[in-house]
Symmetry: none
Subunit: 229 residues, 2 copies
């Protein structure tokens, strides 16, 4: 469930926004003063903030700047004056969107959704879902230790799974066989690096359409391997 913070002094407006957002399944908090709003934004976790410009206690400019110093979450700025909007945009203080009052609550909902979706697309995919890695046709469920290739489950042995997972968790990064060996096997074990090659081959047999032209695990000649994205 996503949490939204509305910092807005006109209670009627704030309540209306809250109603609409809650109908769309969001959890909403309201603060009526600027200073309280900032304090709340900093001390709790929200997924998006709707921020009015004119506020008692502390104005929206200041709040936006302060939040941005600490957090990357989407901020939608709201103002009654079109001129103010242009001004903030010019200041470039990192708000993600700007709306002029009056606006329809459903437009707010639409924008909120769009910003959340983008944020997830950019950040959520890399940071959050640590359990499931999904890259193109491949889906790796870490806790269940299962791998699906184009919707079909393939059986992986322990080492194969660990190796594939490690590569997929660091897409595009090239690792030498030594690095992979140290990572998957024991840190200092002095086994033969050739076993990495063999495991790569086994993995490719399971995930690649044509093992000679790998789409996922690429060989970097003289260096190592990488999971291409």
């Amino acid at each position: 469930m996503s949490r939204i913070l509305i910092i807005e002094d006109e209670e009627a407006i704030a309540d209306l926004e809250k109603d609409y957002l809650e109908l769309s399944g969001f959890e909403v908090e309201i603060r009526n003063r600027g200073d309280e709003g900032l304090q709340t934004a900093m001390s709790q976790e929200f997924d998006l903030i709707v921020l009015d410009l004119m506020l008692p206690g502390m104005d929206g400019f200041e709040i936006c700047k302060k939040i941005r110093e600490e957090k990357n979450i989407p901020i939608i700025m709201v103002s009654a004056k079109k001129d103010d909007i242009d001004k903030i945009r010019g200041l470039g203080l990192g708000a993600d969107d700007y709306m002029t009052k009056p606006f329809s609550p459903s437009e707010l909902v639409a924008r909120v959704k769009a910003h959340m979706a983008r944020y997830d697309r950019l950040v959520g995919s890399t940071q959050k879902n640590n359990d499931i890695i999904e890259i193109r046709g491949i889906r790796i469920d870490k806790t269940a230790r299962r791998v699906m290739v184009d919707g079909v489950e393939k059986a992986f042995t322990g080492k194969e799974f660990d190796l594939l997972t490690f590569l997929a968790e660091h897409p595009n990064h090239v690792y030498t066989k030594e690095e992979l060996f140290r990572e998957i096997w024991d840190m200092d074990s002095i086994g033969d690096i050739a076993t990495v090659t063999v495991h790569i081959k086994k993995i490719r047999e399971k995930i690649e359409y044509d093992s000679a032209k790998p789409q996922y695990i690429e060989t970097i000649w003289g260096v190592g391997y990488r999971f291409k994205v």
Copy 2:
């Protein structure tokens, strides 16, 4: 330097946008047809796309969807009809911004900058792109060991990559072939210096427009080479 792709069939508009963006230090490519635009977007690396809705070859909806399947970069959609804008927004196909024609070029520039800044804020920070060397049209990603020349990826072998990277990391510094050899090959190996020459040639074939008039790796006669900046 950031690269922007404009997909727009009205050449006058495209050129105007290009001029303004270039004045702000962006590198701009234009495509006049939808299908060509998509093809370019997929085969090269851009940091942002400005996409018109009505296009010959393939419409903006389709293009936006296709790009989103593969890439996360910001897309600004442009249309002459306000209604269309609402429609696309409703479709939620992942565009990052919407502008109605006519608009002032400076507003486009402002929005482009804002989107770039956000993208950097969200992605650049999490992905830690601090091992990327960028000089004029060349971008070297050290961990991924990839080289982009004007947005197009070129395949480099191990030694070629190491040599180019070393030179690019010390721009303008002139190195003798002996120094380069000691640096890239084993410190004391007494192999033939000629191999450095050959590798320089191979690199030039990949990054220089005209190998006879090198723009990047310059020959200092009787001394060695340097990466010119």
